[in-house]
Symmetry: C2
Subunit: 601 residues, 2 copies
């Protein structure tokens, strides 16, 4: 495969080949023909660069036609360089290292919620255990006593450019995982009876997750290459291939005479019980009951909406990174403690755990401070590549959080989430719209959906009947003689409304738009209103200029005869009172008024 | 302080107060008056929310005037809610948890390079040890045997919303750190003799880093509050304050009668030896020697330029996350092995380690795949808040890497880096410009500078004499009758040049710009050329549309009468050959030609 493709990681496949063979053809209970059997054991290839090994397995299982194997890495092949769900037997994308174990936690947690007995196997490379996320996963899996989770570490000691940090010291891995609360077993990853015994033992495992630490050899079976540095990620040439295959056949005479007609029988689990839950949410309807004159923080409304959601969505689960009393995820926990996951301060694991949960039909809502989703950008990126439907809520957006200072302010989250393929970004300004947007999130069954919430309480400005939609916006103020259109979202909606009042007193009218759907943006409406508003737009946002709402609007109107200026955070923020910081960054009502006057001089 | 500010974390300060008192007034050797003494012991408050405790220390040391303490969290105060270098005794920003230990590794590594004896102390909260980055740091510090690094964990068991994952089980922390190769000691964090003995022992420490595990009590000293959940991040009201202060005085009668005139003497280390190296690089001049007709990958040119740089910059160091043979950081390692840090696959630690190195006058160049800097976005964000000068190089940009597939492609890195305050982004297309840009990076002594390199070899198009500058661009093609201006960068420069040739054959002329300085952008030049090119711009980039080069240009020309269309990656990429993927995403020469024709129909 890799020779045909001209690239790939054959030596990384060879170190794990015996393990994976034992796993699929001895240990795992699953129906190769029916990936929807809800009791199938699950497998995640965390060391995603060994994808050809996985494809070889599915070829043996009859799912990939032998000829199709040679399409590896072709642009029209589902057999990508690293596994993605384009191939039907892969649920999660891997290839950025150190994420698989967290996904396994999500899957094992779903199994527990559904009271199913299946096991979740995750194959890691030794080099990826230096990723901190692996240790986040290790501690969370132990905390939740996920005994159905079985990690296997392929310790071949050779990375891309150097040796493993722990060298071939398998006791070091053992000590680390034991200290983190795992059962652990060291074995020879090329001695088939040992491998089988290891899996037997892992399956009997109770109380704790278990790690199987396999001593392996990179390039195993190739006399001239095995255990040598310098062959990572190198496909062999067509000229080299025959002699290398000869080496393999000589080393494994049984395999060399292997008979394709061998009657291996899969251990198919019962399909009894509930079918795999549908991932599609279609009929949630959330009912808020805010008084029109009341104030509520959108972050709190998020938590309140989750409670309502939890009643309607049996598969809805909530994850939070030890800030549940700030994000208000705690309101959900109070009602549905079994469906709430305290993920501690470990955002990377939390997001990838969400990926695992979605793979088993759960609907995770994942919250932390918006600023701290920067910690999990790689995991969000990989979730998008895997087409996982994640619902993320980032609270404490912008400088308006005030005194805690810049480390706690989400100011790049819109830019970050906009650059995720197929993402959506919702940014409500009041409690009513927050409820509606949680509803929209629930119904968005594909891709990453990000909700941005605000720390401060804000007034309710919408009636309970107001309709909201992905790609929509609200025209809050408009007249026949507007000189500019103010495009705001979240906290700046109120600054725009204040500016409106200030300008009214001076007999100037502006249109005010609540662009609550930052992505997709209500481009046509914004352009139409701007054209009725002196062909002028002023955007105002509590976010850095680059990649934010303003630049999204500027792009949308790029070929219109519209003058546009963007008010955004452009100075490195600091501690201070919210209103002082809005003034400091020139994103408050005064700044809007000043800009309107400047543009209409 | 926190009562005056109306917010803050007094109970988190009280758990660590005894430790910090012993540290500054007993253990540490430093000159309070001279932060530039190169032999001062160093301290990092990883649990940044305990900032008032740090400020209280510096008040005792005479650096903060008593009255100024009450300015905590004011907009014009340097005493921010979480520590930042606005306060002269803070070198690194903390407040996003789990980053301090990695910064400490950077500082301790600088000490070793400079052959200095000073110690580096890092105070962590127990809750932040769930961040995977702490374990990345733990393994790297042990790997490098950084015995001058002393971590202290303030185990008060209470987080913001829940108890520590390991509860008050201090043996669990001990087991984990021991397994990770550290010396470890458990002690009572409120028994002063025990604390002093712990520091005595830590200072005698050899061969390994050491962790001091302190059992503490959150809100210690306040009878009605200590060790109770629900007081995290809560300032006490003015009404409550007097009785709480009474509780403290009753508990600590010696402190209650404390005499400010007590003649404590700092243990000032010798200032002998070299002075703290200047962080300002001013006079690097790199000389490439590429033949004009040769090809070289910009990633390789980066590595080659580093070798030249290493000879001129004694404080230059290089960090890489186990991809040194892909980023070509290995070329530097071959020449300067002592100044090369193999950071293994642990990008978060690597970036924060860079922050620590800059704090001690080192000039780190930090490389990995551009895609994997997403793993460290929070750390880059915090580095910017701390005004650390980091030079980052992300290789393997875009779909043009080909068969490895989307997990390995940097496609959101420009958006991510643009949204970092005071950042600069350089994106060379050939070997010559790469050299020049490494030179520009070296001279950029403030903020985050990001260099984006390409996997494939590309032709040398610039002469050795060509000048490049931050905020500059190159006009590669221009005539009197251009119908559009193509703005490209990196790999797409060559697609633009190809498109130019294709259009020439049809007697159409376009201007071609190499926008190598993505941030700051050569706005004026781009606008001027566009105005001479039919008022049309077509941007073309190997990056997602959102937040990329195109939207930066669209924003720059927003109020000009210029038609602009942006060619960028808009479909979820997949494995394939580079040229197939450029075509698939419509960012190749054909797509440019098509767009020129469309706009000039």
């Amino acid at each position: 495969m890799t020779t045909q493709a001209g690239s790939g990681h054959p030596t990384s496949c060879l170190s794990a080949a015996d393990i994976v063979a034992a796993l699929f053809f001895y240990a795992m209970h699953f129906d190769p023909q029916n990936p929807h059997n809800p009791n199938n054991d699950q497998f995640i290839l965390s060391k995603g660069h060994a994808a050809p090994l996985l494809y070889a397995v599915w070829k043996e299982l009859g799912i990939i036609a032998p000829a199709d194997l040679l399409s590896l890495r072709d642009i029209d092949s589902v057999l990508e360089g690293h596994p993605t769900p384009r191939f039907s037997r892969v649920d999660v994308a891997t290839g950025s290292l150190g994420q698989g174990l967290s996904m396994g936690i999500g899957i094992a947690s779903a199994a527990r919620l559904d009271k199913r007995e299946y096991k979740t196997y995750v194959l890691l490379g030794d080099m990826e255990t230096t990723e901190g996320q692996v240790w986040e996963a290790a501690e969370i899996a132990a905390h939740y006593k996920l005994s159905s989770l079985i990690a296997i570490i392929d310790c071949n000691n050779l990375g891309q450019s150097t040796q493993a940090l722990d060298d071939y010291d398998l006791d070091a891995y053992h000590a680390k995982f034991t200290a983190f609360g795992w059962h652990s077993l060291i074995f020879d990853g090329h001695a088939m009876p040992d491998i089988m015994r290891a899996f037997d033992q892992a399956k009997k495992n109770k109380d704790k997750p278990m790690v199987l630490i396999a001593k392996t050899i990179k390039g195993y079976g190739l006399d001239t290459i095995e255990n040598k540095q310098g062959f990572h990620g190198k496909a062999f040439s067509s000229a080299e291939l025959p002699s290398l295959l000869e080496q393999l056949k000589k080393r494994f005479p049984a395999a060399a005479t292997y008979d394709d007609e061998y009657q291996w029988q899969p251990q198919i689990p019962s399909t009894k019980g509930i079918s795999v839950p549908s991932k599609k949410v279609t009929s949630v309807s959330l009912k808020q009951t805010y008084a029109t004159s009341s104030d509520v923080a959108t972050r709190k409304a998020y938590g309140q909406a989750l409670v309502d959601l939890g009643a309607q969505l049996a598969d809805g689960v909530v994850l939070d990174a030890e800030v549940k009393n700030s994000t208000f995820a705690e309101l959900f926990e109070k009602h549905y403690p079994d469906r709430f996951f305290q993920c501690f301060i470990a955002e990377q694991n939390m997001v990838s755990m969400g990926v695992g949960l979605t793979a088993r039909g759960k609907i995770p809502f994942i919250s932390t401070f918006g600023a701290f989703f920067t910690r999990a950008y790689d995991q969000i990126r990989m979730a998008a590549i895997g087409r996982s439907a994640l619902r993320l809520c980032g609270s404490h957006a912008g400088v308006s959080i005030g005194e805690d200072g810049p480390s706690q302010m989400a100011l790049e989250d819109i830019a970050m989430m906009r650059a995720i393929p197929d993402s959506a970004i919702l940014y409500p300004c009041d409690g009513v719209s927050t409820y509606k947007m949680v509803e929209i999130m629930a119904h968005r069954n594909d891709g990453i959906t990000y909700l941005r919430t605000t720390r401060a309480t804000t007034p309710i400005i919408y009636s309970a009947q107001e309709e909201f939609e992905l790609g929509g916006c609200k025209i809050l103020r408009q007249s026949e003689h507007d000189v500019a259109c103010i495009v705001s979202a979240g906290i700046t909606v109120f600054e725009a409304l204040k500016a409106y009042e200030m300008l009214q007193k001076e007999n100037r009218s502006v249109a005010v738009i609540d662009a609550y759907s930052v992505k997709p943006l209500a481009e046509a409406t914004i352009i139409a209103i701007a054209k009725k508003s002196g062909n002028r737009i002023i955007t105002v946002e509590d976010h850095y200029l680059e990649g934010g709402l303003g630049q999204a609007v500027a792009y949308a109107v790029r070929n219109e005869s519209i003058t546009i200026e963007c008010l955004a955070v452009t100075k490195l923020p600091r501690s201070g009172k919210p209103e002082q910081l809005l003034a400091f960054e020139e994103i408050d009502a005064n700044a809007i008024v000043k800009m309107v006057k400047y543009l209409t001089m």
